[in-house]
Symmetry: C2
Subunit: 302 residues, 2 copies
């Protein structure tokens, strides 16, 4: 989708964008903001000396700050790009320095907990519009970022009831020009959908790779050697950032446990069918799962 289709011109969407955190998402947002001219100034903040040093070398920030407050001062858009567990503290730290009329968003993979943790800190007159770009790789850190990460990928916004529609519209425009397709829904629904499409798959991938790690050494080497037979896809998922995923599970507990319970029941059903040699049950279940794949191919998400 070219930017020409979305806006009559290529003017920056915001004067100053502040990115709190410079991991995969933060650095990708910086790159795309510069590449597509989404902001006149991209301020990046990281508390880590090593990260700031690397960001300076990579050169994707117009200004670089050890303190988030210095980055967000005068910013029109602030996007908190930390793991979900750090969003609340980040919001508290920047709150006194936010400009009236500024938009504050985030990129967390859970939304109810973000609303709970960040919401109370956002001052009157500042617009809080939580967001979640469904884009990522198994790599993390400032080196992992690239401008094309959001191209053709969904970004879900979960505006709060009673929020300012103009602020949401402006944030939409920013993400659209970053290459995303936008969907709006409420935070609770988001967390339920992501529990099955993302959180449970990651939990299962981490589990099976962990099971393999515990095998005797000789078998483990062969698991690596013959990983192409299915296991490999799981290892890629299970190489994702540990702190980010710890925070996701801790902060979407109810929905994940609910989906996990359903999954475990379904797995027990298959386990029992294998134990008792019930081939008809296996075949029937393996056949019905194909319909979902067809749906994905038709939706061009494959």
């Amino acid at each position: 989708m070219s930017t020409q289709e979305i806006t009559p011109n290529n003017d920056p969407v915001f004067e100053r964008v502040a990115l709190v955190g410079a991991g995969l998402i933060g650095s990708s947002l910086a790159w795309v903001s510069r590449k597509k001219g989404l902001a006149r100034h991209v301020a990046v903040t990281s508390r880590s000396d090593a990260t700031r040093k690397r960001v300076a070398e990579l050169g994707f920030a117009d200004s670089l700050h050890a303190e988030a407050k210095d980055a967000v001062t005068d910013a029109d858009l602030v996007i908190v790009c930390t793991p979900v567990g750090a969003c609340g503290a980040a919001a508290e730290a920047i709150a006194p320095y936010l400009k009236p009329g500024a938009i504050v968003s985030d990129v967390g993979s859970v939304k109810m907990a973000v609303v709970r943790d960040m919401g109370p800190h956002i001052p009157e007159g500042v617009h809080f519009v939580p967001g979640h770009p469904i884009a990522g790789t198994e790599h993390s850190g400032p080196d992992a970022g690239f401008a094309e990460l959001f191209e053709g990928r969904w970004c879900i916004l979960t505006p709060l009831p009673g929020g300012d529609p103009a602020a949401t519209a402006k944030l939409r425009l920013f993400w659209e020009r970053a290459g995303s397709m936008i969907e709006e829904m409420d935070a609770e629904h988001h967390d339920k959908v992501l529990a099955i499409t993302s959180h449970l798959p990651h939990l299962i991938a981490y589990t099976i790779v962990s099971t393999a790690v515990d095998l005797e050494e000789s078998t483990k080497n062969e698991v690596i050697k013959f990983s192409a037979s299915g296991f490999r896809d799981f290892t890629r998922i299970a190489a994702s950032d540990p702190v980010m995923w710890r925070d996701i599970f801790l902060n979407n507990r109810e929905a994940v446990l609910e989906m996990l319970q359903r999954f475990s029941e379904d797995l027990s059903y298959l386990q029992r069918a294998i134990r008792w040699g019930e081939g008809d049950k296996l075949q029937e279940l393996f056949t019905r799962t194909r319909t979902i794949r067809r749906g994905i191919i038709e939706a061009k998400q494959a």
Copy 2:
């Protein structure tokens, strides 16, 4: 790897190769045999009228037979390319027509059950060398085959104790010239390794996609829409051939149930950590799984 490195010339490895079954593997074997001149004559057999018709249209067989016995007569190599559950009956049907000195193999994803089911039917003077090419796609049937399927992929041979080393060597040469890397191991060990690298991942993928199929309709549509967040990889795996996979689970029951038990215990551990908010346990486990991914990248299987 060029064929020149393996053999001094490009002579056919066998005069006549008979392929029993024309699914993804059988048709790919036919294509590669013709492309690389591995056999002077490729005889293909399928009991299905529709499959034979399609094979004739695709044109990858030198001769096409409704009865397996007509294909295997005079064949130097017979490869049974049916689902594992049909291997025993196929061996029984072809046994009386096998040429003395012929090699009989298969491509099944489990090996102990194949030895159990095919072995007793193989006549004296015929060499039985079970095999398993670790190659595939989620597509099946004669249209799915292509000559490059085995390129750079492992093929595991599980020769029987006391078997003829020359027969194994000749089958190795055939697979090497088809593009494969070869590993030999005993059948029991194969089944254990594949249980964790292939069978359990497929079982889990089928399960989670099945869990999603049972969600309410509105959520299911969003699962498809946002599948790129992790779920999509599982749907690809879970689109594999239902009959083939039914037979794998029924025929590698002990090893799959053993790995499934370990997996379930590990999943319960994570489930409990989520429920009780034990972030340190989650992070520690998510960190140690990264080592396996590194091993796979170093082994160039990624």
